[in-house]
Symmetry: C2
Subunit: 371 residues, 2 copies
């Protein structure tokens, strides 16, 4: 059989305040198209369907629409688990009914041992869980780590293995040896709450969620799909997409998803960024993380940059910024408006606009009248 492996949809996620609703809808439509074009027999979603345990009504509506569209409109079987961002209880609602149309959603560790059989494959749906849940399920108070728990989990799952079938684990955890990138730092995942890869050896394929980069782990049959959308500036360089897995040959193909609006980090001077010769070559509609190499004070810098790049999500200085005279050294006999102007510049790295000056003057006049 053939299935599509995706994860970490994080419906409801915002990027520094920018709503990613349209990006998520667009990525969903690409996932559906890929599923249909590849004639897959099922779609696997390995956790973190929502971004928050208490999603907004809009997020509830959006995810619901996607699941209805795939499972009821396009008759795609679904295999899904809850991730650490989902509320298992809230996501669970309806799942007893979903199975009737081959939408298998598991949110409970206790149900991870009874596989869903589809074509030549047994799928074990293991939701995100914490050690205390494993202590309950196995009635074993010595379980302190995910690693300990996983030994017991895989052991019990193997008892249900049919030798004639392929065995796929769908799970949401840190696989030991994966790498996490946060901006420039690359951290290799390890420790007691990471799952050693050799524990996963009994499976023909492990469809993971949790890390947003599909290159976080390099293994032939244990894979993260990564998220379908770039969710932070640290994901700017990542290629997003999904895996198409053929269980007969146990071969995998990564199919990219094109961002509706890209996430780009740019480092340059203010003059370069605002030079038409420069920005005409840029995808100005993207979300930008801007790092200025200037040290000089640039009045109204954010507003001026946003006139060129409307979706700047962060603005930093690579080399620091020339110091303004500090407030402490300011002559206290200066006019209030002058003092306020200096304070504004100090705090905002920016001079007041004309309108802001007008407001400040009105405010100071009002304060004087009320004295």
């Amino acid at each position: 059989m053939k299935f599509l492996h995706t994860a970490d949809w994080h419906i409801g996620k915002k990027l520094h305040g920018f709503d990613l609703h349209d990006e998520q809808d667009d990525a969903y439509r690409q996932i559906l198209d890929i599923a249909l074009a590849n004639k897959v027999d099922a779609v696997v979603i390995a956790g973190d369907l929502y971004d928050r345990s208490l999603p907004s009504e809009d997020s509830v509506k959006q995810l619901n629409h996607m699941l209805i569209d795939m499972n009821l409109t396009h008759h795609l079987p679904l295999l899904a688990i809850s991730g650490n961002h989902d509320s298992a209880t809230r996501l669970h609602v309806g799942s007893e009914w979903y199975a009737q149309t081959n939408y298998y959603l598991n949110t409970e560790l206790a149900n991870a041992f009874d596989p869903v059989e589809m074509g030549d494959t047994q799928f074990f749906l293991l939701p995100y869980f914490e050690p205390w849940q494993a202590r309950n399920v196995f009635d074993d108070q010595t379980i302190k780590t995910v690693e300990q728990a996983m030994t017991l989990v895989v052991n019990r799952q193997q008892k249900a293995f049919k030798p004639s079938m392929k065995h796929v684990l769908v799970a949401h955890f840190f696989a030991a040896g994966s790498s996490q990138t946060d901006s420039e730092t690359k951290v290799v995942v390890g420790g007691l709450n990471a799952v050693p890869l050799d524990l996963l050896a009994p499976f023909d394929y492990v469809a993971l969620g949790h890390l947003h980069n599909h290159r976080a782990l390099t293994d032939d049959k244990i894979k993260y799909s990564g998220s379908p959308v770039k969710f932070s500036l640290s994901e700017a360089e990542e290629q997003k997409g999904v895996w198409i897995v053929d269980t007969e040959t146990v071969s995998t193909t990564y199919v990219p998803i094109k961002p509706l609006r890209d996430v780009i980090n740019v480092t340059a001077t203010f003059d370069e960024l605002t030079d038409p010769a420069f920005y005409k070559k840029m995808d100005r509609d993207a979300y930008y993380g801007v790092t200025l190499t200037d040290k000089a004070i640039i009045p109204d810098v954010m507003n001026r940059l946003r006139q060129v790049y409307p979706h700047i999500v962060s603005l930093d200085r690579q080399n620091g910024r020339d110091e303004l005279p500090t407030v402490q050294t300011v002559d206290p006999t200066l006019a209030p408006m002058t003092l306020f102007g200096r304070f504004f510049e100090h705090v905002n790295d920016d001079q007041m606009s004309e309108q802001q000056q007008k407001w400040a003057e009105q405010g100071l006049q009002k304060a004087e009248r009320e004295d």
Copy 2:
């Protein structure tokens, strides 16, 4: 056919801070028993399944369990709508799948015109809605009231009427002429957001939710079921239960639900209430609204009453209370502990217990040390 008519479950509701989880579970089991004993063909739930638009995880679990139990375990067809306490969006999730096992849940006005047919009956499921939603659905900006909207709603519903069948409306609104009781005041429902009964004449039966007293309206075929549990002291005298409706004869029978823990209002003196001869005849495990006829100050009154009646939800004085000297007239040279004791009495209508005095003394000593 025969169906059971219930409404206003308000899962998650608290009575003055007391959790009604057990009462609601118990009432649910009685409803199930009544449905099975009467061999009904369906259960109608006319809105307000949850008490809040954002129910807690416990409430989600509790309601989910009830619906699974009725529909999947006992194979009872369900016909349900959202009420004003439910979030239509959140409650809606799963409903596209529910219909496969004859669980019809409608949360959208736009879907109120396409009846569910069961046996000899067409059920029109009309969720709670507000005039702006009717303006959208009918594309008519002149709709300002529920009454105006209902004229159009019933009109459109009638177009789907099959003359050979019975027609039942399931809805959640104020029916004009109903009475609402809030403590001793009885208010007759009217005005532009109440629905006149003659608008409902085309239906053979109207299964309503919204008012918690099944006697709120006296009409042969337009009925509130009332809530299955007493949710406030003003509901103390109400008989809770469900309707069993036979569509062939259009006859109705009210089947009572016995409270797990009753809600009782009692008016008496402190001495009467705490006299064994009195309280041995009382259902001491009930939730009590106590009105004292005493005027005298009674030290530690609430704690002493709760030793007899553990679930007192409110305590009032019928005749006011003897005045304590007001704080303003207290001699400011008094010892801090004396002053605090008087203040405590003034605020709590009660003297400090020994333990409370000890705590107050410790607190004052600590404050002095820190001065």
